[in-house]
Symmetry: C2
Subunit: 380 residues, 2 copies
């Protein structure tokens, strides 16, 4: 028996303009807009403030989310929420700002510290109305039941999982992707691929998630390169926005695997783009996992354009690993852990943390600490 949940989704060019009225529809009287300095600079926070002003919805600002979502940001945000007397949260951002917005929402109605909610289903009280506008194709946070927050003291990415974290309304506006740098487009695009592949081979995969995951794999294979190549390629951005959404629906319900478990462990120690770490780890974890589900990896290869007729499932799986490596190289995502500053002496601590991560539970192949260490060495 399994469950499947999604937020209400509004998708399309210009969807951003629905952000204010979405909050109003949920009964908001004063909304806290949560975002980051980069989006402030590129003018998107002005746009969203304008949406609120147009319909006379009072708002307050918290634009302090960093490249990775941190407990201190959540605490600052919830102070802003309470001081201003807000009763709803409107997140605008990539995974980091949206995860901070989720953290603020948890503390707004449940109190305590964010570390109290690490794990599965520990949020007792309903959250305030929550509307999320994604600006990357990307994290999938706008549709998922996940929030990943760094515990500063433990230098650890905490995985918080609860269906309360699924926003009420998710807004995906491909126009917002036009200001992203090519490296951020590449990094977040490889993150989408890791969501889609990990959820498709997850132990918790279902037909409802499989179809979304497979289509996301196809879209990334076809459209990530042109999307990275040209800011002006609006069609490719739209397709990547859809890929991100479908992968998000898949992993929110099917959960993930070892790529994310290891990536969270690394990301807790080093302030790196989540997508860059995933991009490096993905082919190595696929290579480790492929004997657990050869037929699934064959389907992944098929979505990526491989002719699977007259090939064994294992041959197809190996080809899929090669294609993922080549895609990362083509879009100039980083290729080795050494290149992004991960150090060998941290491997043991990283492996220990990865083994404890909630995402490890659904990895399709049984995995030991030694296996994680082997993957880290191969990816170094």
């Amino acid at each position: 028996m399994y469950k499947y949940m999604t937020p209400e989704i509004i998708f399309g060019n210009g969807a951003l303009e629905k952000s204010g009225e979405s909050c109003l529809r949920l009964g908001a009287k004063r909304v806290l807009i949560v975002s980051d300095p980069g989006l402030q600079e590129s003018g998107w926070t002005n746009k969203i403030e304008q949406c609120c002003e147009d319909i006379d919805l009072p708002y307050s600002r918290f634009y302090g989310a960093g490249i990775n979502p941190r407990d201190v940001e959540v605490e600052q945000g919830v102070d802003a929420y309470k001081q201003a007397g807000c009763d709803a949260v409107l997140g605008l951002g990539g995974g980091s700002a949206l995860d901070v917005a989720k953290g603020i929402s948890i503390l707004a109605t449940n109190g305590g510290r964010i570390a109290d909610y690490e794990g599965v289903d520990l949020i007792a009280k309903p959250l305030p109305p929550l509307v999320m506008v994604t600006t990357t194709a990307g994290s999938g946070s706008e549709v998922s039941q996940f929030s990943i927050i760094i515990d500063s003291k433990r230098r650890k990415k905490m995985t918080i999982v609860s269906k309360s974290l699924i926003p009420d309304i998710a807004i995906i506006d491909p126009v917002l992707l036009s200001t992203k740098s090519s490296s951020l487009t590449a990094s977040t695009g490889m993150d989408v691929l890791s969501h889609a592949i990990e959820s498709f081979v997850s132990l918790a995969a279902t037909p409802l998630t499989d179809v979304q995951a497979l289509h996301a794999i196809k879209l990334v294979s076809y459209y990530l390169r042109p999307s990275v190549a040209a800011k002006s390629n609006v069609y490719a951005k739209e397709q990547m926005a859809m890929a991100s959404l479908q992968a998000g629906l898949a992993f929110s319900n099917a959960i993930l695997g070892a790529v994310h478990a290891i990536s969270h462990a690394i990301g807790g120690r080093l302030s790196l783009a989540h997508g860059d770490i995933n991009s490096i780890l993905l082919p190595h974890v696929m290579n480790f996992n492929r004997i657990a589900a050869p037929e699934r990896f064959k389907q992944i290869a098929e979505q990526m354009g491989i002719t699977t007729a007259h090939r064994t499932a294992d041959e197809c799986a190996l080809l899929a690993v090669e294609l993922v490596t080549k895609l990362g190289a083509d879009v100039r995502a980083p290729q080795r852990l050494a290149d992004i500053g991960v150090e060998r002496e941290d491997f043991s601590v990283i492996a220990d943390m990865a083994m404890e991560d909630a995402c490890m539970v659904t990895n399709p192949r049984d995995i030991t600490k030694q296996d994680v260490l082997d993957i880290l060495h191969e990816a170094y």
Copy 2:
């Protein structure tokens, strides 16, 4: 720009047992169970009452839904709801009982008569907590924003569309399919196919609905025959339950087309199984629609097992029409309108009503009253 919404879904053998606690989780104090005499006879209403008793959730009964959902049943049901002081609705049934349950929910909080809500988005106030357990693979009512209710005076099936009609929680338990007769399995299975095909070629189709619709088409093509052949084939029933769910998610968000518009017009006049009418109309409407979207029909053919390489899209589309006809024949669904009692002299009234149906708006090919008449004559 488009929207996508689903209820929370619980799927799997034994999921029925989650029905009572689902109501409780939504805050129900006394629930009205809505069902039909057939399900009472087969013992399923006893089971659901037991689920409520096990958790001390008070309930009342309205088991008066017929083979087609009628306004008078909705009125009787809402009287029962009010007299017993209910505050939530738990539907158990095929499309008919579930649509009556939706009608009761509308009137419970919005008042008036059910005909007041015919059309799109006319429901102002939120409905009471609504949990639906489907017993057919089937109508998709358990996940859709539709309710179809017969207006007795006008002898018309009213289409009511509103996102308020999406239940809070949908429960799909394949075990419930084991008591269905082979003819009901066939009829409802052909209905699933018509949902999947109509939503895939709908003008409102999106990638989110396409992937669910295509997979539903494949599942019906593979599993409807064995499901009709043997009550004991549990695996086939599970696959048909998934097909019904995926087709339901697709059509709730992408809407339908001429098959349903014409079928509603016929069903308003004659008390016939909805699936039987759809089964007869489907290949004829496909044949009419195929020039509007040849590439879409090619994909339908591919899902049904046709090798599409070295064939034109139009050849594939014609083969898809043939396969649908053959599937209906193999499962002994009725083949001609004359066989189920539709009379030629009613064609003009039926065509007029069909042209007004909300489902006609998303039909991919422009259609006139004369086109509808031609389809009716071909299907006679």
